[in-house]
């Protein structure tokens, strides 16, 4: 199919084509950047949390009665929960991972370094959780070195509690951040006051509290029972038994102690979904925007091509009369659209980069992965060809006898 005469005809009659080129360029800039942001959000939401989210249950316990004994209540409730059929592990905690709420502290690999501190010494920030000896089973995290806490290491903390811990378990990412290539197991970790704790376990991965935090996988587990009267429980169950165990907890646990209230029994998946709600909404909004823009652009292409077919009916008939086959006519409109789309995507590529630079600058978004640009070009080429197909087929059906009609 000859390109030059089609191009020169386009250039002589360019208003509609120029508008469509602009529309395609804007569409490309928006959909490529939107697709990139969506892919980033999806990747963020699909990160491996490192613990067994689908099979975990969380709830709150709130001691309010005058006779409420925190230590007794926690021990009884923990033992009862652990005895339920299907339960793999139970732990108490002050806050929940991936809930967008928690606490973080600074730590250091050496006491001296920290003592001399000041601002120049490197400090490690980690999201901390105080949990019992069932922590590994209750979370379903993978222990890659060392052990879990001994029961005797698990102490009841008070609100005034200021000492560190006899032992700690840390994620592999935190171990690398703290000790580099050295084996972290058995090393001493110092808290903000210079108190030491021995690293007794390394877990492969675990995400902390805040989904937008850069150091999300810097997690430190410490042995203990969080101070009362308010705390949370995490219960992990065998796969497929979550709803059944939740029902049992709802029906039996509150009645076992009238001095405390059991609230918000919920699957952990709901907690995680709530933390990613903004990302989820943004993803849906962007996908809707992309669909809308793609639809509008497709309609624009169909509209322009349909107009061109109506406007050029006699010309098409003449082309057919002097020897064009239906396929020639179909090809003409496909090539014409391809040229317009190509103009649009070339301009769109520049616009895409400009929009991305603005997004990086104004909203601190990541730089665009350049592979998205050829992907966008390809998608818009295909979209253009699909959109023009119906008007082009209609054009190819115009009878050659139209040429002799004096319209």
């Amino acid at each position: 199919m000859p390109i030059r005469p089609i191009l020169s005809a386009l250039l002589r009659n360019k208003t509609g084509a120029v508008l469509l080129v602009l529309q395609i360029a804007i569409t490309m800039a928006v959909i490529v950047n939107a697709a990139f942001i969506v892919s980033q959000r999806l990747a963020k939401m699909n990160r491996d949390p490192g613990f067994d989210v689908p099979n975990m249950i969380a709830f709150q316990s709130w001691g309010f009665g005058a006779d409420y004994n925190h230590e007794v209540a926690v021990k009884e409730d923990t033992d009862y929960l652990a005895s339920l059929p299907g339960v793999l592990g139970v732990t108490t905690t002050a806050s929940l991972p991936l809930s967008n709420s928690g606490s973080a502290n600074t730590f250091a690999a050496t006491g001296e370094e920290f003592d001399e501190a000041g601002a120049d010494t490197p400090e490690i920030v980690a999201n901390t959780y105080v949990m019992n000896e069932q922590v590994l089973d209750a979370l379903g995290v993978e222990l890659v070195a060392g052990r879990t806490f001994y029961p005797e290491e698990v102490s009841y903390r008070t609100p005034q509690h200021s000492s560190f811990a006899p032992s700690v378990i840390m994620t592999r990412d935190l171990a690398i951040e703290t000790y580099g290539t050295e084996d972290a197991l058995g090393k001493t970790l110092y808290d903000g006051l210079g108190n030491p704790a021995e690293v007794v376990g390394i877990i492969e991965n675990m995400q902390g509290a805040w989904v937008d935090w850069d150091d999300l996988t810097h997690v430190l587990l410490m042995p203990g029972i969080a101070a009362g009267p308010f705390l949370r429980y995490i219960v992990r169950v065998e796969p497929g038994r979550r709803d059944e165990v939740m029902r049992v907890i709802e029906e039996t646990l509150p009645a076992r102690n009238s001095e405390r209230m059991i609230r918000r029994i919920q699957p952990f998946t709901e907690i995680v979904a709530r933390s990613y709600r903004r990302d989820h909404s943004m993803t849906i909004l962007l996908i809707a925007t992309v669909i809308m823009l793609v639809s509008i652009t497709s309609l624009g292409i169909i509209g322009l091509a349909s107009f061109a077919v109506r406007q050029r009916t006699k010309q098409i008939g003449t082309r057919r009369a002097i020897g064009a086959t239906r396929r020639d006519i179909l090809g003409y409109f496909m090539v014409e659209n391809w040229l317009v789309t190509t103009g649009g995507v070339l301009l769109g590529a520049l616009l895409t980069v400009a929009v991305n630079m603005w997004l990086v600058d104004a909203y601190s978004l990541e730089k665009l992965d350049w592979a998205y640009i050829p992907a966008g070009v390809l998608i818009l080429w295909v979209l253009g060809q699909l959109a023009v197909l119906v008007p082009a087929i209609r054009a190819s059906g115009i009878a050659p006898a139209i040429a002799t009609r004096t319209v």
């Binding site: 082309r319 002097i322 020639d328 006898a401 004096t406």
Partner: protein, 245 residues
Amino acid sequence: MLSMQHISKVYRTELVETHALRDFSLEVNDGEFVAVTGPSGSGKTTFLNIAGLLESFTSGTYVLDGLDVSGLNDNERSRIRNQKIGFIFQSFNLIPDLDLFDNVDVPLRYRGLKAADRKERIHNALETVGLASRMKHLPAQLSGGQQQRVAIARALAGDPHFLLADEPTGNLDSLMARQVLDLLQEINEKGTTIIMVTHDAELARRAHRNVQVLDGQVTDLEAPDSHPLTVAVDNDAADNLSAGA
């Protein structure tokens, strides 16, 4: 040679059946210049459309250059139109967005000829119609007579056996009409068969033979050479006027 025997063409809608041609028979020999005349609605254009394979017929036999065209599919009809037939339309039917060179090039590209061959044919055709110097002009920059000459060049460039002209001077003033007719006669003298549909008896008189059509039937078939071939025309004066147009 073109031979139509007992051709009929019926247009049908749900309510109406229109017989555009009835028992239409006509033979045109190679090298003839035939004028088909008749009043509006007589079936002249339907005849031309069928002769030019622009539309099909309902019954009868049509043999073009020894080939029975009734069984041809759409692609084969396109190919024959492209290779054997040249069309000249009343409204010229040039493509307004293409310059003269590209307009003449259109049917040649559909034939798949090589660029050098096409270029030579386009030059020769535009030379024949006296417009070689204007090949980069757009149709809108030319007079009606010049545009029709470009259309003739487009038809000639493919070296057709038949030239089918549908009221070729219908949109031209008398002087330009004469120029175009002179050109058609020159082309015919070089051996191209021309069939011209017109309602103008004066123009028809310049053909070898007149065929009168009425109500879709041939009513008067003159024998070849019953009319004089040419009418005296002051070509120089015509050219001068055309160039000034």
